[in-house]
């Protein structure tokens, strides 16, 4: 059930003096079961792109297709569509509003018109997915929780709608190391259990750890797509765009530059293997 962007262009305030092109001729297919990381400098159009994925924003030209169906066509029930593509905004804890955690998570499923029993089942399942205990905090006010917990409640609020595609805009922004680690584990687990995930991130170490594919945005255009190996081996091009690369990539890039025979690694575990081979096995230099 792929989600496809076909020649998507988005222009803000067309025809006015403030006209600006936010997205320019984007062609991208998000395949089932992948974890696509969307990276790029602030203002490169990542968030605008994300809002096109569930019809919150409409392309000025081009189309967004879900299962081959144009999600913005008049006869598509857009509300139904939004439930299939779940969008978690930046700092989503700022949208919590209900008296209790349970009610807040139930907001989405209720809007879907589900029965009380179904809503309850979904709340329980969603809380379970993000590692929150219903007994402990279900009846608490979301505003009494820690920042990391609030973020997970907000995530559960979208998961309770059981989207097939989950779009996350900077999911770990502002979290401390431990809260961030938990959240990344949640995302990884969701992905493993079959949810398609699109994740916008500035943290290349997060991307290196999770992504199965990466799309790089620059000035409203799709600059590159590829596997993490392919993208992070483009060291110079990424840094030229003002983007970070994972530290593992930096080190392997530098060591290869010095003539050492190691693979291009973007994950620390890979680099550890390579360095172990190199430092234990002799044969230090490449031919």
């Amino acid at each position: 059930m792929p989600l496809t962007l076909q020649n998507v262009t988005h222009i803000y305030q067309p025809g006015s003096p403030f006209q600006s092109v936010a997205l320019s001729d984007i062609n991208l297919t998000i395949d089932d079961g992948e974890l696509l990381a969307l990276i790029g400098h602030t203002g490169s159009g990542k968030s605008t792109l994300a809002q096109h994925l569930n019809g919150l924003m409409q392309p000025t030209s081009g189309a967004v297709l879900l299962d081959g169906e144009d999600i913005n066509s008049k006869d598509t029930d857009k509300r139904r569509l939004r439930f299939q593509v779940g969008l978690v905004f930046q700092y989503p804890e700022y949208q919590l509003f209900e008296e209790t955690v349970e009610k807040d998570i139930a907001f989405g499923p209720k809007n879907m018109g589900l029965s009380a029993g179904e809503v309850k089942d979904r709340v329980l399942a969603a809380m379970d997915m993000v590692g929150l205990s219903y007994e402990e905090i279900g009846q608490k006010s979301p505003f009494e929780l820690s920042g990391g917990q609030m973020r997970r409640v907000a995530l559960a609020g979208v998961l309770a709608m059981q989207p097939r595609i989950l779009v996350l805009d900077e999911p770990t922004a502002g979290l401390d190391p431990r809260a961030r680690k938990f959240l990344l584990e949640d995302i990884q687990r969701l992905h493993r259990e079959g949810t398609t995930v699109v994740m916008i991130s500035h943290s290349m170490d997060d991307v290196a750890q999770l992504a199965t594919r990466i799309a790089v945005m620059e000035k409203g255009q799709l600059a590159m797509t590829g596997t993490p190996e392919e993208i992070f081996s483009q060291y110079d091009r990424l840094t030229g765009m003002g983007l970070d690369v994972p530290q593992a990539s930096v080190l392997s890039h530098r060591l290869r530059g010095k003539g050492l025979a190691i693979d291009n690694c973007y994950q620390l575990s890979c680099l550890a293997d390579e360095l172990e081979k190199l430092l234990k096995g002799g044969a230090p230099h490449a031919s």
């Binding site: 400098h41 602030t42 820690s146 920042g147 990391g148 922004a173 502002g174 979290l175 401390d176 190391p177 431990r178 809260a179 680690k181 500035h202 943290s203 170490d205 003002g242 970070d244 994972p246 530290q247 593992a248 930096v250 080190l251 530098r254 060591l255 010095k258 050492l260 620390l268 575990s269 680099l271 550890a272 360095l275 172990e276 190199l278 430092l279 234990k280 230090p284 230099h285």
Partner: protein, 278 residues
């Protein structure tokens, strides 16, 4: 005359009288011109510490001296806040005026700087943070990193001796984070301004002179970044992490490769690997 800029003596702070103290009998001192990173997870007490350092909060027990002035002594309140300026986390919530120029003037207006002296000080302060071209802009149209630099300029214009940054980069993207960190580091090196940099980013702490780790309201570690980050296990028990290269060296040491424990940066690791291959 002592060169101690901040002296904390057995400082405790409670938000509620019967609550667990947010800060518990903390003692340390920071010298003039030092660049100290204070590291801790959310809720560790590090933000409380920040607000105690310029008298926004007053200690429940113990006392704090800023350049020899006791923060509890009301006659020094404004002197202390002028000398120890503070930058907060959310860039949007600390800008008061609708034009950059007016915002930089805000602090000076409060401490009664004569009007004719303000324009040159505004130019100087904005120049020091590289924001002079934006003097007539509306702050809400700037990027996060730029807003934080405007906030820093507003403090510089008051001619402070210390900057306290309370997670000033937590809401910024990597380039904004770097922009703000580099600016502050330069001010520390060129103007000798004492910096207290509160953060949960390991990379930033690794680039400072001294790292203090706060956990459950107490200072648990205090040393150079190399000393602190060599203790991965301890840091993890404080809900923190170590920079990627320290993690890698830990992993390799575990696999029986003899590497020194104080590797922090890519450069360190590169040097060690090359030394072992030649």
């Amino acid at each position: 005359m002592s060169s101690a800029h901040f002296v904390l003596n057995n400082v405790s702070y409670r938000y509620d009288e019967d609550a667990k103290p947010a800060l518990n009998k903390v003692s340390f001192s920071v010298n003039k011109g030092e660049f100290v990173a204070v590291l801790g997870h959310n809720g560790s007490g590090k933000s409380t510490l920040a607000k105690l350092l310029n008298g926004l909060f007053l200690p429940s027990e113990g006392h704090i001296l800023v350049s020899g002035m006791d923060t509890r002594d009301e006659q020094y309140t404004w002197d202390i806040r002028q000398k120890a300026g503070m930058v907060f986390q959310n860039p949007d919530n600390q800008i008061v005026a609708t034009v950059v120029r007016d915002d930089v003037a805000f602090g000076m207006e409060n401490i009664g700087v004569p009007s004719p002296q303000m324009p040159p000080r505004i130019d100087e302060a904005l120049g020091a943070v590289g924001m002079l071209p934006f003097v007539d802009r509306a702050p809400h149209l700037l990027s996060g990193g730029q807003k934080q630099r405007v906030a820093i300029a507003g403090i510089l214009a008051m001619h402070p001796e210390a900057l306290i940054l309370d997670e000033a980069t937590a809401m910024l993207d990597p380039s904004g984070r770097k922009e703000v960190f580099d600016t502050v580091q330069r001010l520390n090196q060129e103007q000798g301004i004492t910096v207290i940099w509160i953060t949960h980013f390991m990379e930033e702490a690794a680039k400072s002179e001294r790292v203090m780790v706060i956990h459950q309201g107490e200072v648990r570690m205090d040393g150079t970044p190399r000393e602190v980050f060599a203790q991965g296990e301890t840091l993890r028990s404080f809900r923190l992490d170590v920079p990627p290269m320290a993690l890698l060296s830990e992993e390799l040491r575990g696999r029986g490769i003899d590497l020194p424990p104080d590797i922090l940066t890519v450069e360190d690791m590169e040097r060690e690997v090359l030394a072992r291959c030649r």
